[in-house]
Symmetry: C2
Subunit: 355 residues, 2 copies
């Protein structure tokens, strides 16, 4: 299944042409376009070979050829040359992402920028593995009755809040005192350490304090543990620019479109995919059924992990039709992941890393 040079050039030309205008490409067009001095008949012979190898197929006898998933695969793996992004767009990106903003806002902006520039759907998975993130600040606010609002801030400035039902009412001074104690004692420690220390303290402290400790522990778990709360699960993924997919002719089928949008709402499958692509460093591409997700049948997903202080903490990417402009999208995703990494890391230094 190795291709000779000519077949490669023709496949590449065919895919580029098909990506550009969405029409099956005939031998005549291809012969002219490819820049090789070949007749259409010769091209037809090559196409027959490519078809046998499963790289292209003909929608019907008298149509031209379109790439198959395998064809795209070969294209992105070996034929495609990354197109550097338009400089002004890079600058826009830098400007938008490297300005001061809180992490949640930053994640949302990133997703939106991805979608706007690619004219597709952008997705960003919020940082995971915050277990290892340091605790910075906690606060308890008494609401009505026994409801206590717990606000927890992690090292990167992300704010989590949740309401807990207490067993008795607490005065605000009690709560303030507890919060101050926490902040003085544990600020800067890692979440896991805080949790461990709390569990230890519970066993020897006064009864009143115990209760608050317990609250804090359960709060810490709720805010941090991704498996503990559905809220955390779905809030972890930001999807933007869904409507960009409506125009796309391949998805013109309402059923497909519906499935896709439902997947955006559910988020479960997407999160799983992104989680999966988090392990591999660098840009990763799922073409059509490769994603294993039915809703993404005619779509491709281009992802890249991003880091905080060198450690991979999340993934971002772009979803579009299988027939998408991979060259631009890949570099877009790549650069965005890097910019987001430096925006999230202390000091805003731009990291360099291979794709």
């Amino acid at each position: 299944m190795t291709l000779n040079v000519r077949a490669e050039i023709l496949l590449k030309t065919l895919i580029e042409r098909y990506i550009a205008d969405g029409q099956p490409v005939g031998s005549r067009t291809l012969a002219r376009q490819a820049g090789l001095e070949l007749s259409s008949a010769t091209v037809r012979n090559v196409m027959a070979d490519l078809e046998e190898m499963g790289m292209v197929r003909a929608p019907h006898t008298s149509a031209g050829r379109v790439p198959t998933e395998l064809g795209y695969r070969v294209f992105v793996d070996t034929l495609l040359k990354i197109k550097p992004l338009n400089t002004s767009e890079v600058q826009k990106l830098e400007h938008e992402l490297l300005s001061n903003q809180d992490p949640q806002q930053l994640i949302e902006n990133t997703s939106q920028l991805l979608s706007e520039i690619c004219k597709l759907t952008g997705i960003v998975m919020a940082p995971r593995r915050e277990e290892q993130l340091a605790f910075r600040h906690i606060d308890f606010v008494s609401l009505s009755d026994r409801r206590i609002l717990v606000i927890l801030v992690t090292q990167n400035g992300q704010v989590h809040n949740r309401i807990l039902q207490a067993e008795r009412e607490y005065s605000s001074s009690e709560l303030t005192q507890a919060a101050n104690y926490f902040n003085e004692t544990y600020s800067g420690s890692s979440m896991t350490d805080v949790r461990r220390a709390l569990l230890h303290e519970i066993q020897q402290d006064s009864e009143d304090m115990q209760r608050i400790m317990k609250l804090a522990v359960s709060m810490a778990r709720a805010a941090i543990d991704p498996d503990d709360e559905t809220k955390a699960k779905t809030d972890d993924l930001v999807v933007s620019g869904e409507s960009n997919l409506i125009d796309i002719p391949e998805l013109g089928d309402m059923r497909k479109l519906r499935k896709l949008f439902d997947a955006f709402t559910t988020k479960r499958d997407l999160l799983q995919l992104l989680d999966q692509s988090m392990r591999a460093g660098g840009v990763k591409i799922f073409i059509g059924s490769e994603s294993g997700c039915e809703a993404l049948a005619d779509c491709s997903l281009v992802t890249a992990p991003y880091t905080v202080d060198g450690r991979i903490v999340g993934t971002l990417g772009v979803i579009g039709p299988t027939r998408m402009a991979y060259e631009q999208v890949i570099s877009m995703v790549d650069i965005t992941a890097r910019l987001l990494s430096s925006a999230l890391s202390a000091g805003n230094r731009l990291e360099s890393s291979g794709r």
Copy 2:
């Protein structure tokens, strides 16, 4: 333009039939369906009258009649009898909405429930006019450099947070001290009072404190003033179940669908509409072009304001095709608004109010 009883019955029957199956209704069908002992010829005469009055129209010469916007208007204003909701659905609603949750979460759940039960798109505008809401708690957390995270909790438990750039670095004890002072002094006062008091204090306090005060003031404005921040504007509206609109045949046109989804993303027009319907108490219905919003051309919007402790603070509603099951949707929106009101009000008592 007054209708006699027979015309009313026929119009009502026609619209109900059309809502049910989306096909133009012919005189034969209508004569049988209406329960009046009339021939199709008589019905045809009435239809000609209704057409002249602009209540119905025929897509073409030999099709039946479909309602016009005016027809729908008359229908919802005078002909429709509200259908009480399925009891089990009401219970589900009550159960979901009256359980303890923080306001933001509650708003999102409400929107989702609206969309799920109506199988349309649910929208909820987050509480406005929080100027009048009492201040409950503030907190300052120092992030890197001079960035200070300000967390502000309003009386209803809503958490706002924002990052501010300070002129110098503050130690955490300074910040804690400032926060404690704030919370002790102002907790329970109205936002406007807090702001006023702060402005006053600034003029006599020490210089260090001044700076923090200023921060707090600007924070308070940023978190509260709806015109001050774009974030506040767009975060104010929660839209759910957009994908329910994909299946709807009237919106099968990709252009229309695209416009609609873009409107959901932009939110501006929707917010304006909801704001407008906030003034009128009770359920309000915008049919087709009545909304004045191009994207909603073939849609209707059913809204109802909700209250906190008796004061109207926001609006919620449902967006669907003009041909929607108004009876169910109206009562759904009505009951949801009431349930949300009591869920947001202290003590969770169910209020009664006319529609």
